[in-house]
Amino acid sequence: MNFPENIKYTKSHEWIKVEGDVAIEGITDFAQEELSDIVFIELPNVGEPVEAGKACGTIEAVKAVSDMLAAVSGKIIETNTALTEFPENINQDPYGEGWIIKIKISNPEDVNNLLSAEEYKRFVAEGH
């Protein structure tokens, strides 16, 4: 399982990559593997405000539906609309083609509350 170093993680299995005041968010390799066979995604609207820890999209796998939570508070500035056609990109490339949303970060402090790769890896290993 893949835990890239240059990104931050949530305990609800999202990742973000921070570029300036923008966070690119997706779900982790662990999450996509647990869900497996992602077949449908509901994206938030561009311009919509999101709150850290609150649902901002829905991911449907063959076996279950789950919410995606915003890793940080802010405003949606872009969504990966290719996923509506190719939701399997999340399974195949969760940290690349499978990115889901871009958030303009309103509170940079939010980023400090997230886990490092090492911390997230330990969190997963503990069986969460």
């Binding site: 497996s36 066979d37 077949v39 449908f40 829905t58 449907e60 063959v62 076996k63 539906v65």
Partner: protein
């Protein structure tokens, strides 16, 4: 604690995702549900279905007894023939759906894992004839080898000419030198076999089948794929689509209900429903708008009034459509009727369609 099937170690070794399913530790998938669906539809795959229950019925009145407790007509069975049927309570509610095998010295009822204890109690409670019943579920291992290449795989392991065995017929033959009951059955819509045998030969049977199937890329498949395969065929799942609160007539299973039999459990209620008509009926539908219908979602009319409830739904990987079934008020049950499915607050259009959803299955 959940029971393990005799293939538990095989599932672990293959990296199966194991879950507790109705009291059994079972694999939902190995490599991926969609990949496993395609495996069964295109070549051959194997399901561990050892959690299913087997109940033997013997004695001079066995046929008469089975006829009284099931809705279909077992007197139509020739030796080694198999029949899909249901057991009902006296109020017409379904105890279970099952297979009835007529074998040389006995009848074998194959029932759902979730219902083994309940079924066995119900069967014993109903005995009024000269029969003996045995619940042999814990001693029997069962595998389902399904897919267009299934016959080629199993033929390598037996002297019995499998081309002679028609759909829903069985044989008591040696497979890999192990005594079995082998039937040309399955719940996938593909050609294939189900094989029952003493669980002490589980490893040998599994290894022999996988060795024989190597050239056809045989793979283990889990319950996730099984659920989609059966839904693509509009085969019912007990606990989702049918249960003790629904009758076979409501569950769109009139074809296994022989009201011409003079007496069987539930007959009066089923006859009344047939004569007077139903209030609600199970219907198969496909989504017009994009979204997955799931068990428990409300079905509405175009004005937003609740007219029913989804019992099963998923993506059909073969059709690339979202499909499902659910109970609706009778006036909405005709082919092409438009339904609205409330998918977590989104009101999505669907329509009643003809089945099976998937029409290219290779079952004979």
């Amino acid at each position: 604690m959940a029971k393990k099937t005799p293939f538990y170690d095989k599932h672990i070794a293959l990296g199966g995702h194991l879950v507790d399913f109705v009291g059994f530790t079972m694999p939902t998938q190995y490599k991926g549900i969609i990949e496993e669906v395609k495996r069964i539809r295109t070549t051959v795959g194997v399901f561990d279905v050892s959690h299913m229950g087997e109940i033997e019925i013997k004695g001079p009145d066995a046929l008469k007894f089975i006829s009284r407790i099931t809705t279909n007509d077992p007197s139509a069975l020739s030796l080694n023939q198999v029949q899909y049927s249901a057991m009902c309570y006296n109020d017409g509610g379904i105890v279970d759906d099952l297979l009835v095998y007529r074998l040389k010295k006995r009848y074998l009822l194959v029932v759902n894992a979730s219902n083994i204890d309940k079924d066995f109690k119900w069967i014993k409670y109903n005995i009024n004839e000269n029969v003996t019943v045995n619940n042999i579920s814990d001693d029997i291992a069962q595998l389902a080898i399904q897919g267009p290449d299934a016959e080629k795989v199993i033929q390598k392991l037996t002297d019995t000419d499998l081309s002679e065995i028609k759909f829903y017929w069985a044989t008591e033959s040696k497979i890999a030198n192990i005594e079995t009951v082998l039937s040309r059955t399955g719940y996938t819509g593909e050609d294939g076999f189900e094989v029952y045998f003493d669980k002490k030969y589980a490893d040998k049977m599994w290894d022999s089948i996988f060795e024989a199937g190597k050239e056809f890329n045989i793979e283990a498949c889990g319950l996730g794929a099984r659920d989609i395969l059966r839904l693509e065929m509009y085969y019912r799942l007990y606990g989702n689509d049918i249960d003790s609160t629904t009758t076979p007539i409501e569950g769109d299973l009139s074809w296994i209900t022989r009201l011409s039999k003079t007496s069987f459990n539930g007959r009066e209620v089923l006859l009344k429903q047939k004569v007077e008509g139903l209030k609600r009926k199970l219907v198969p539908f496909e989504m017009i708008d994009k979204g997955i219908p799931r068990q428990g979602y409300k079905i509405k009319d175009k004005d937003g009034n609740i007219i029913g409830c989804v019992t099963s739904g998923n993506l059909s990987p073969m059709l690339q459509k979202y499909i499902g079934c659910g109970y609706v008020e009778l006036e909405y049950s005709n082919n092409d009727s438009e339904l609205t499915i409330d998918v977590r607050g989104r009101l999505l259009k669907a329509k009643v369609v003809k089945t099976p959803f998937y029409k290219d299955g290779t079952h004979k």
